[in-house]
């Protein structure tokens, strides 16, 4: 392995390990003789990267368009002729960038469309607000306007406001209708009511030539609220896409054997049950499958959490996520990729059902408090004014102004804006939230359960402390190790670096590698393979024929910052616990290294989920952090959950949050941000309540004019927005004082 340097000429992006080029031919779209392919490129971050990639790919024979979108990291290539798609991928990889084919998928396109609709609505509302404000200004301040001009201004305002409300109000109206049908009031009900009533009242006042018209209030309200909605939708889409990209770097294509015995690359989603697949050494299985032929070893880290590879033979069933190690095998798919995923998710949802439905969002709680109270106040105001001798029209005016001025603009923005700001802050750090209310749940956490393999540890073993004999033998051992996909072999190669490979190499599944070095026969493998006495199991032995074997010990490397994170979490009043499916000795060692006092080994997937549930029932709010298939149940039953970027699909989807990068510090960071977000939300709700307490008496007294309404509403929205933005400010690092 060579030293990794950043491919970016400006050095802006961290060096990314170039991924082994997969065959992307399954992703090629052909139309009118022009073939096109969409690729995700990792590590491109400046103009230099852009021209480097575009010019090099553009030079390939037949390429018509090579355009890299630097904002999304997607490269679109269009070509005609015989150019092989693999050549394109290899070209980008050879420039030093991570690259993989990708398929936008239905959900992606759908959410992009929804965002576009919101932006259209926002644009209409913005232009409408500006136009109506032009007309409102003389109405507010022009005390010398003639009745003629006043009426003209009102009619033009009406002509602008009416279409704007119809177009821009759509997102709120449809959501309000849906919530009424479901017999559950959400915040969009009072919003829609206020907007429609404001418009109706203004039209009425305009027709009868009355005192006040609130066209400006109705369009402005929509404009403010839509800003929040657009930001929210955009962020959610970006986070979703980013988490998906992490996944597409894992398994994008598989090799299928046709009935004629020909191998073809297919997209993982196109695998059907019964397909025979060829799984190369080092390749990850995308579907549940039964081995047809071939003896090998499988790395089940993501499935069971075990670090040591397991020997596999024909007839055995392997779960999606298992990595085939020593020799190529043929397997028969037992399910389609989506089916196995769907089945797993259905099972998980069943397991974690009570969690999602029992949780009531802060905003929903606020809406439930707000709606009856404000509406009752408006009704009371109407009755009271009638009793004191006002006309029905006057009393209705007062009631409607109460609803307009208390329109939950601040209340509706209070939570989403905070979530948007907090989530975009996390996004910049490479942490992707799946939903806004996840932040509220993450803020409540008081107990963290960590998985070991792949979560507390990096998942890849590293070469441990070595003896003097091993130090001298390691270069020769590496010559054999370079031919193997066994995780320990790769760890040795990583430690030693690039170099030559031995001759006549042969890998014997489950045992080791044999080969010739300088004419001498050598072996590298398990203790039994070399006739040595095993000690512990996480070691490999090396010897020339006739010599005494030398041992190499391997550790499961703890993530950097793991110990710091544990200290940090305890300082935040959070209890940390380690729960692993791996063997006792390794779990104990990892727990000690990370400073975790409470740990449990040999936990089955069921017992993991049961343990989390038991903690939840005892009143604790558990955060589960895990990556494997065996963690999925626990992830779904916990109050909140986080998965590292390398997690299997099921675990990623069962989690509230996915973090990329190696540092466990992300966990502390997520909780800190979530707590800050919860505090800001509470402040915003308190402010919105205070605002209502002040303005309701004013409205009840009948003093509300369009000018007062406009000032009150925009001022309250501004306060809530500014408060939300406080999260974006860089916090003084809590890490500064730690060693």
């Amino acid at each position: 392995m060579t030293a990794v340097v950043s491919a970016c000429p400006s050095g802006l992006s961290a060096p990314s390990t170039p991924t082994p080029a997969q065959d992307p031919s399954a992703f090629v779209v052909q139309k009118d003789g022009v073939k096109s392919l969409d690729l995700i490129v990792k590590g491109a971050s400046c103009g230099g990267c852009l021209s480097k990639i575009e010019s090099n790919v553009g030079k390939l024979a037949g390429v018509r368009i090579a355009r890299l979108n630097l904002s999304t990291g997607r490269l679109r290539v269009e070509w005609s002729g015989q150019l092989k798609p693999r050549t394109i991928v290899e070209m980008v990889a050879s420039l030093g960038y991570g690259v993989t084919a990708f398929d936008p998928g239905k959900a992606d396109i759908e959410s992009a469309r929804a965002e576009r609709r919101l932006i259209t609505a926002l644009t209409f509302a913005g232009v409408g607000t500006a136009a109506v404000m032009f007309m409102s200004e003389p109405l507010w301040f022009g005390s010398d306007l003639t009745a003629d001009i006043r009426n003209t201004l009102r009619w033009i305002s009406a002509a602008v406001a009416l279409p704007v409300v119809i177009v821009s109000g759509q997102p709120f109206f449809s959501s309000a209708l849906a919530s009424i049908r479901a017999r559950h009031l959400n915040m969009d009900v009072p919003i829609s009511l206020a907007v429609i009533l404001a418009l109706a009242l203004s039209l009425y006042e305009t027709v009868v030539g009355g005192q006040h018209a609130f066209f400006d209030a109705s369009v402005m309200l929509l404009f403010f609220l839509l800003i929040g909605r657009v930001l929210d939708a955009r962020l959610r889409r970006r986070a979703y896409a980013a988490a998906n990209e992490l996944a597409s770097f894992q398994t994008a294509t598989a090799t299928r054997l046709t009935s004629g015995g020909r191998a073809e690359a297919v997209r993982v989603v196109d695998i059907r049950p019964g397909d025979v697949l060829l799984v190369a050494a080092g390749e990850r299985l995308a579907v549940n499958a039964e081995i047809v032929s071939g003896k090998s070893e499988a790395d089940l880290r993501l499935v069971t959490g075990e670090v040591l590879p397991v020997a596999t033979t024909a007839g055995q069933t392997l779960h999606a996520g298992a990595v085939n190690l020593s020799a190529p095998i043929q397997v028969r798919a037992l399910s389609a990729a989506n089916d196995s995923l769907m089945a797993d998710i259905a099972r998980l949802l069943e397991a974690g059902e009570q969690k999602k439905s029992a949780y009531r969002r802060l905003a929903d709680k606020a809406a439930e408090l707000y709606i009856p109270q404000v509406h009752a106040t408006a009704a009371l105001g109407f009755v009271a004014w009638l009793m004191f001798g006002a006309t029905a029209a006057q009393a209705a005016y007062v009631a409607v102004t109460v609803l307009i001025i208390t329109c939950p603009c601040a209340l509706a923005l209070a939570a989403p804006l905070v979530q948007v700001v907090a989530a975009s802050r996390l996004f910049r750090e490479g942490i992707y939230l799946s939903s806004g209310d996840a932040l509220e749940r993450l803020a409540a956490i008081d107990h963290v359960v960590l998985d070991k393999t792949g979560t507390l540890t990096l998942g890849d073993p590293v070469l441990g402390a070595i003896s003097e004999e091993a130090r001298t033998a390691r270069n020769q051992a590496a010559m054999l190790a370079r031919a193997s996909h066994h995780p320990f072999s790769r760890a040795l190669v990583k430690a030693v670096g690039a170099g030559p490979i031995a001759q006549n190499i042969c890998e014997i599944p489950g045992q080791g590698v044999v080969g010739t070095i300088n004419g001498r026969h050598a072996k590298f493998g398990s203790a039994s393979f070399l006739g040595a006495t095993a000690s512990g199991g996480s070691e490999l032995w090396f010897a020339f024929e006739g010599d005494t074997p030398v041992a190499f010990h391997f550790d499961d490397a703890i993530r950097p910052d793991a110990a710091k994170t544990v200290i940090e979490l305890s300082a935040m009043g959070i209890e940390v616990e380690l729960l692993s499916g791996d063997g006792e000795e390794r779990v104990a060692r990892a727990a000690k290294a990370a400073g975790v006092r409470k740990w449990r080994a040999l936990a089955s997937p069921q017992s993991k989920a049961a343990h989390v549930k038991a903690l939840e029932t005892s009143g604790q709010k558990v955060l589960m952090v895990g990556d494997g298939l065996n963690d999925a149940g626990a992830l779904a039953s916990a109050h909140a959950s986080i998965a590292p970027g390398g997690a299997v699909d099921v675990s990623r989807l069962a989690s509230d949050c996915v973090f990329s990068g190696d540092s466990l510090r992300a966990i502390a960071q997520i909780i800190t941000t979530a707590r800050a977000a919860r505090a800001r939300m509470r402040e915003n709700f308190a402010f919105a309540a205070l605002y209502n307490i002040v303005v309701i008496p004013v409205a009840l007294a009948g003093w509300v004019t369009p000018l007062i309404a406009a000032i009150a509403m925009s001022a309250s929205s501004a306060v809530v927005t500014l408060n939300a933005l406080r999260i974006a400010a860089p916090s003084r690092s809590r890490w500064a004082g730690l060693p």
């Binding site: 400046c46 103009g47 852009l50 021209s51 010019s55 368009i65 355009r67 890299l68 979108n69 630097l70 904002s71 999304t72 576009r116 932006i119 259209t120 644009t123 209409f124 232009v127 409408g128 500006a130 136009a131 032009f134 007309m135 003629d148 001009i149 003209t152 201004l153 033009i156 602008v160």
Partner: protein, 49 residues
Amino acid sequence: MNVFILMLLGIVGFALAGLAVFGWALKSGQFEDPKGAAARILDESDRPR
């Protein structure tokens, strides 16, 4: 009075024109890759396609 109405119609007209321009910009992909556009402006070999 007539001048006044003319001005108002002018305002609405400008607003609609702005709306149309923004609609065009959105549709023609002006907001698709702001980072890339910022980098491309310095690249001499880049020609509009």
